[in-house]
Amino acid sequence: MRYCASALFLAVLISHYFYGNAHAERPIVPLASLPAPVIKTIDLGLHGAAASLLWVKITQDVYTWLGENTNQTLRSDISLVNALDPKWSYPYAFAAIMLPGFNQTKEAIALGEAGMRDALPDWRIPYYLAIAYHTDKDRANAAKYFNLAAETEGSPENTKKVAATYGTGMNAREEMRQIWTTIAESSEDESVRERAKLAIEYIDYLDQLDRAKAGILTELPKNPLED
């Protein structure tokens, strides 16, 4: 009996090994999300926990999406989190700051506005929403929300500076650097800090290009190819 059991165990190990070799990676069909009313009916009142677990799923997926520069379900997943726990502010803010990076600025604004309406007061919602509006070239709403962010309790000092200087004719690049620096310094979210860092690096890169251009023009005031 012992030899039989050992032989069977060995057979299991071998088949496991060869299965692994034979298995070809196939794309995984994303798990379809249940509608919020269905989840609310079956979650035994644990809406907060359900929202949190879905949020953790989003945080795991977002790095993949950032890497592939696509997102399959970020907007709908965040909408579901919001539907399960409308008072939870951060998912709205997260949507407002992250979705424009996936060319979903209008969706970002819609979720940000929903957060302003439904969530508990959190300076990050109006601040990130203002950035979304700025990305959408709606400076009037951007200014409005920067001001709201500055007035919200708990907002960092930098938000007041940004609200005061936004739209006053300040150098656009400096303006954006200030905006993204506030986020980089205040956010506890690694992915948002990454996004802010990238934006600041982009601005720095543009500055470098300008300096390089200025240097070339000093050396060669006239384009030699024009002669």
């Binding site: 009313p37 609310k40 009916t41 079956i42 979650d43 035994l44 009142g45 644990l46 809406h47 907060g48 926990a49 359900a50 929202a51 949190s52 677990l53 949020w55 953790v56 945080t59 795991q60 726990d85 008072k87 939870w88 951060y90 997260f94 508990l120 956010s187 506890e188 979210d189 690694e190 992915s191 948002v192």
Partner: protein, 252 residues
């Protein structure tokens, strides 16, 4: 009273020695470890994720213990006829029901307490502890009391598997009634009225759900807590009374 206490003590001893506590302790440790991983993956929302999933996990596990322990205990008594040593004695059938209830509730409360201790320790380690957590767990124990009463009642006339299924239906109905009533109201006023009627007839367990308030630090009005307590007390008393009436007529 003496007989009730004796039966309760006996039931408690029997349940606790059924190694359930070891399972609870093991789960508590695994659960807390998982919680740390989950909250660390939450992009700056660690406290919120830890609290919501922590309280949710304690609720789910505590409710599983409540249902399976209660249904199994009564089923065992009736099937294995351990009650043959109790019922022929100078003990009324009402005393048997109340004693069983108190013993089971003590076991369930102890299990929830152990889970809570592990959770509180983890919260305190990260300086996240808030007194409202104790309120949320106290209300969970009240809900468990009501559930134990209902399960004892169901077990007096249903087979164990059916009693478990019926308890799960009561549990889901108790928590989803508010959502379903709102949906019914949107569909038609008469359906809304019917749903409202159901929400009064069926045990409404959402009264004991203060978890969201704990997550956001909302103060809970004392009146709500008082009425939740009264609801649990009267509901449990009604369930035990019905159980006694059925049990009184039951031939063993």
């Amino acid at each position: 009273m003496k007989n009730i206490f004796l039966i309760a003590k006996n039931t408690f001893r029997e349940t606790i020695r059924d190694r359930i506590l070891y399972g609870v302790l093991a789960f508590a440790i695994i659960f807390i470890v998982i919680l740390f991983f989950l909250s660390d993956a939450s992009l700056g929302e660690e406290r919120r994720v830890f609290t919501s999933v922590g309280l949710g996990g304690i609720y789910l596990f505590g409710t599983c213990i409540t249902i399976f322990l209660s249904a199994a205990m009564i089923a065992k008594e009736l099937d294995k006829k351990t009650l043959y040593f109790v019922v022929p004695r100078a003990v009324s059938r009402e005393q048997v029901i109340v004693g069983k209830f108190m013993g089971l509730l003590a076991s369930v409360a102890l299990s929830i307490f152990i889970l809570s201790l592990a959770y509180f320790a983890a919260l305190s380690a990260r300086a996240w502890f808030a007194w409202e957590n104790i309120l949320a767990l106290a209300l969970q124990i009240l809900e468990s009391a009501l559930l134990v009463g209902i399960i004892i009642f169901l077990s007096t006339f249903l087979r164990p598997m059916l009693a478990v299924l019926a308890s799960i239906v009561v549990l889901y109905a108790g928590h989803s009634m508010t959502t379903l009533a709102a949906m019914a109201e949107r569909m038609s006023p008469s359906l809304g009225d019917l749903a409202l009627l159901f929400s009064y007839v069926f045990p409404n367990l959402e009264k004991f759900n203060m978890r969201n308030d704990v997550i956001y630090g909302f103060p809970v009005p004392s009146a709500e807590i008082v009425f939740a307590f009264l609801y649990a007390a009267f509901g449990t008393a009604l369930a035990l009374l019905l159980a006694s009436l059925v049990f009184k007529k039951k031939e063993l």
